[in-house]
Symmetry: C2
Subunit: 495 residues, 2 copies
Amino acid sequence: VDPTFRDQYVKPSELLEMGFNSIITNAYLLKKHVNIVSDVHNYLRFSGVIMTDSGAYQILKYGGVEVSNEEIIQYQCKIKTDIGVILDIPTQYNVSFDEAYSSALETYSRAQEAIKVINSEQCQDILWVLPVQGGVYIDIVKEFAQKSVDVFYNGFSIFALGSPTTLLEQYLFDKVIDMIFAVRSNVPFSAPLHLFGAGHPLIIPFAVALGVDMFDSASYILYAKDDRYITRKGTYRLKELEYTLCSCPICSKYSPKELREIPKNERVKLLSMHNLYVIREEINEIKQAIKEGRFWEYLEAKAYMHPAAKKAFETLFKYLEYLYKHTPYSKPNVKAVLLVSQNSIYNPKVLIPRRKILSRISTVNKSIIIFIPYISKDKVFMNNFVSNILKYVSTDTGSAKVYLYYPIIGIIPYELLTLFPYSQFEIGVEITDKIIEDLTYIIFESISLLKKDTSITLIWCKEISWQQELINRIIKAMNNSKLQRHIKTMAIECT
Amino acid sequence: VDPTFRDQYVKPSELLEMGFNSIITNAYLLKKHVNIVSDVHNYLRFSGVIMTDSGAYQILKYGGVEVSNEEIIQYQCKIKTDIGVILDIPTQYNVSFDEAYSSALETYSRAQEAIKVINSEQCQDILWVLPVQGGVYIDIVKEFAQKSVDVFYNGFSIFALGSPTTLLEQYLFDKVIDMIFAVRSNVPFSAPLHLFGAGHPLIIPFAVALGVDMFDSASYILYAKDDRYITRKGTYRLKELEYTLCSCPICSKYSPKELREIPKNERVKLLSMHNLYVIREEINEIKQAIKEGRFWEYLEAKAYMHPAAKKAFETLFKYLEYLYKHTPYSKPNVKAVLLVSQNSIYNPKVLIPRRKILSRISTVNKSIIIFIPYISKDKVFMNNFVSNILKYVSTDTGSAKVYLYYPIIGIIPYELLTLFPYSQFEIGVEITDKIIEDLTYIIFESISLLKKDTSITLIWCKEISWQQELINRIIKAMNNSKLQRHIKTMAIECT
């Protein structure tokens, strides 16, 4: 098989038809095996974007290459690649700190050394990739991400995180997430970030969540050669499959049994195409979820498909503040917020408004504050419910400010009830200890931010046991903290 | 459009090509609009299995039909249907208990009345469906499921649950789950169960989990007519879609934008086909998951895709004993157990062995029992770890029986460590309060089942905080219960 990609099982032109408008090939192998001297687009018969890797993967795999950094950069210019990569030194898997440091430092030096060449006339139309190395040593990755920023602005266009391939193969997604964050949070947010060697639907969404913009992977074909069938939630051996789990043109035509009976070469091609369709689905669904403001929901659902995805998701929790910082505040143009687990507390569409409301509570000037349980999504019912309580609680309704409270959602100023997200969420969550604790925290925090002479009333529904528990915990927290506030609690019948 | 299905947007022969080898049509509409008098297979040009509904849906929708129970049964025999349905009286949505009772009783009477006809010579080759009605009134459904059993054995072959359509349309899956269980658990397990009107990928797996064998639904075409696009986790309006979320032959060919621009009639056909491909995927993935013994994992992942699915999943928890009773005990032929949330505790592949081990612990005759944390999946490491502890704890190793403990998995007799599922699980679960409580319970329960004079040692790793918490809780439970046992605890360094 041609190592330069042109005559691979799935041809570049077929990839374009499937919707992949950028491909990556290998400048080192092109130079070594074919040594073309003109436009790589012509050679590959591909009109889309071509990225060329530099031979770094061959260093990783075979320990070295017969070409220098400058040579391979100049070669990439000569063949008019669209996106070029310097000859970085990948950090091997399972090396010591010192070895990892050396590879990261050498990669950094080579980026510096490359500045002159990539700015030369024949190289100028190319977007250059600056890889950051360091492997699982987060401090090294961070150090060289920071150091690389100055170099980056001298002619580079894309950052990349190198070396995660072995970690990805072993489903050590938590480590990869940490590595991605180390780069992403230490380079300018406006710079695109490429993740080398990531092509599995289980990791892609979590990498995207942290701000990875581009991926490359040969997994679709490597898996196919090994008779493995990618799905959105893991990988099967073809021999394990009794039913087709996909509707792609391959899977609508052949059953797994029929696929197994097709001669190897043709089968590798068909499995490669299936694998590519699945990756395309994953990418499309991520894009759609982002567009409609439901990307958190997407990640939450993905997490429960595989323990490795769950670990990646839980690793993201370390970086929630970063995620919030980069979440658009504007209302998404579609769709209710879906609350499906206690992790929905961290959904930016829930948490960002929660914080805004808390941050403004100290400015409330009313002398009476009433917390009322939000027990129905029927607005007419809720309006009557609240009016009745107000009549009962306060003779001077005008001086009362009402907050509704609801698990996960937090507290809602009554006057915002009909606005997003308070009127547009769907909940399928069991009220766990963690959720009650969270709501206790929000209400307690709100109370502590209110003025000292405010009169506060907590209303709860007798027949809803978690509300009783909630009120007990708030009172307990008040006692423990010795916070001085005028609080009344009142149990009512809500049904 | 032809109401009898033959000239519908997707023709019966096209359905067969897509892998749907059974279809349902409507005997009442066939009789009323076409009045064919010979084999319906010829009329529909379909060589697969044909089921005919009786007009009950038209009663539900229009309040009545112009045909009697006996007439429509005889008509179904005449046209040589494969699966026939008596003219049942669907329980309308939102009716009173008395009205629901009447419809269930009348349906039951009609089943009795049908016995003579369905056993007549021309009707004998047909599998007859006995519908159970009652709507959301579970007691009614249960009563008539039980009463129907005798009638069933007089000529019927398939039970059915009627009337969930409106509930399904409103995503009230929890109610439907309760209704299904009311029928399934009160009729013989060997009798197939059909669920009328269920065709959405969000409900199908949960219905299958409770033992529903067959489904029918027109949702694929009704949604298509309304420009709605089914996915595995919900339904989109076509206008909301920017990216295709599927690789079916339709979606590999057209982008959502292109689909929107296709003339209505052709678009309805294409969307219908897409919707059918998605339903087929769902069914296939369910079958594959059952085959490989990972159906619980499948349900667990599905639950987090939508709040309605989560509710269906949580409703299943009421019926866990029933699920366990019907879970095969034999080792599935593939795949590790995937633990992704605290609900994995209830995975039958985890829970059934947990119970077996607990049930046998009282027969243990050793005088020393040692509980050791299972801290690594590396068998060599674990063997050394256990040997070292044994040397330290007991001079007479031969008299000690060792249990390893692990969250969710429970306690493992050391000698079973290399067997399924103890050597084959993957975990991606945060140690929550509920999980520690569960493990506390198992170890406490084990201790209470051991003989009084047994010497018990609990080992825990100093550096693992949840283990410290676990031991504290066990000791607290011992003190509260005043259970008399000889217990030593011992903190060690595990790393």
